[in-house]
């Protein structure tokens, strides 16, 4: 079982909030969803890709040093477990990786910040909307498997923003 000292990991450096030593910001669903809607409405598919890539890169660069810090974690399962705890502790939601082998596989998310926020602000949508989670999963899997950014692609197959029962993500090698 992964043990994470959350009180130590989430701390302050004067006015900065730091997570495992790296600067983070606390934002609410109003801002996160407003940003998503602005990008989608203005740039369309390019806006979705921008959100995906920005999340992938930020997650990758945040999670890689964290793995180095928790070097006792040797197995993929334990690393995935820690990342799922981190995702939850950051208020991003719940993720359940399913048989992730060599980086590919499925992830189920029964709840998330972006789903809750989107539904609260805009209600149901007709296309999958968890671009943030897709990018986050790609960056996380690349960090765990020691692969460079862009190695994996994550597609959302089912989405609670479309009123599916849960969000379902498919991770594949590019």
């Amino acid at each position: 079982m992964v043990k994470m000292n959350w009180k130590r990991e989430l701390d302050r450096n004067n006015h900065q909030v730091v997570l495992s030593g790296q600067p983070v910001a606390i934002h609410c669903h109003h801002y996160n969803i407003n940003l998503q809607k602005t990008l989608e409405d203005t740039l369309g598919e390019a806006g979705i890709q921008l959100m995906y890539k920005s999340t992938e890169e930020a997650a990758y660069h945040s999670l890689k040093p964290l793995l180095a810090q928790y070097e006792k974690l040797k197995t993929v399962k334990s690393k995935l477990e820690m990342f799922a705890i981190l995702y939850q502790n950051c208020g991003l939601g719940i993720i359940h990786p399913q048989n992730i082998e060599n980086g590919t596989g499925l992830v189920i998310s029964p709840s998330s910040h972006h789903v809750t926020g989107w539904l609260a602000k805009h209600g149901r949508r007709n296309t999958p909307g968890c671009h943030f989670t897709c990018g986050w999963l790609a960056g996380a899997i690349e960090a765990i498997f020691g692969k460079p950014l862009g190695t994996y692609s994550v597609t959302e197959i089912k989405c609670k923003m479309m009123r599916d029962a849960e969000c379902l993500f498919k991770i594949e090698e590019c």
């Binding site: 006015h15 900065q16 109003h30 502790n89 719940i94 709840s111």
Partner: protein
């Protein structure tokens, strides 16, 4: 009684360590998330790059608008929350003290070291930030530029005034607008935001 920022920071840090079974952080009347400043900076600055060069000003306007709407809704939620009632309200003696409370919450959220330099009721708000994550993030990746880059804080400064002096929620958003005459991304020693009544 002056607003005790440390008390607010403590409440946010403790509250953001509480998570419920769905992995959501409900605090101060909103759902909070904790994520790398790098993400927010990449989104903003690359959005500006990706939009056609002739629309760069429009990109800025959209980012500021998104932040102002967010600030307006967020701090409306904040000031109607039980946490505000418990922690901040007892320190508030005048209507204007709310702005000090908002700024302290923004500091607690890790947006920068906001200091209210001037507040003329219903007219003008000046906020100074020595270390905005937006300006710092810009300078980490780019050369000094010609225009301010703290779109989020610019929108939020105006939103603070909207909430105090605009029409009742939700009609008062965009009553004020803010400029950023000084920004570290431009080589200035600090960032400064000035909100005044919108001209439209």
């Amino acid at each position: 009684m002056a607003i005790d920022g440390e008390k607010i920071i403590h409440a946010v840090m403790e509250g953001s360590r509480i998570r419920e079974s769905k992995g959501i952080i409900p605090l101060f009347g909103v759902y909070l998330s904790i994520f790398s400043t790098r993400y927010y900076n990449q989104l903003s600055f690359n959005f500006q790059k990706q939009i056609h060069p002739s629309r760069e000003v429009e990109a800025e306007r959209l980012l500021i608008k998104a932040a102002q709407e967010c600030g307006y809704a967020t701090f409306q939620g904040v000031r109607n929350s039980w946490e505000w009632d418990e922690i901040v309200k007892p320190m508030i003696e005048s209507k204007e003290d709310q702005i000090m409370g908002f700024a302290a919450v923004a500091v607690a959220f890790g947006w920068g070291d906001l200091v209210v330099k001037q507040l003329i009721p219903d007219e003008k708000l000046v906020i100074r930030v020595n270390d905005s994550y937006e300006a710092k993030g810009f300078l980490d990746l780019h050369e000094v530029t010609k225009t301010g880059k703290c779109f989020m804080l610019r929108g939020v400064t105006a939103a603070f005034m909207d909430l105090l002096y605009g029409d009742g929620y939700p009609e008062g958003c965009f009553t004020f607008s803010a400029a950023e005459p000084l920004c570290r991304a431009k080589g200035d020693p600090y960032c400064e935001f000035i909100a005044r009544k919108s001209s439209y």
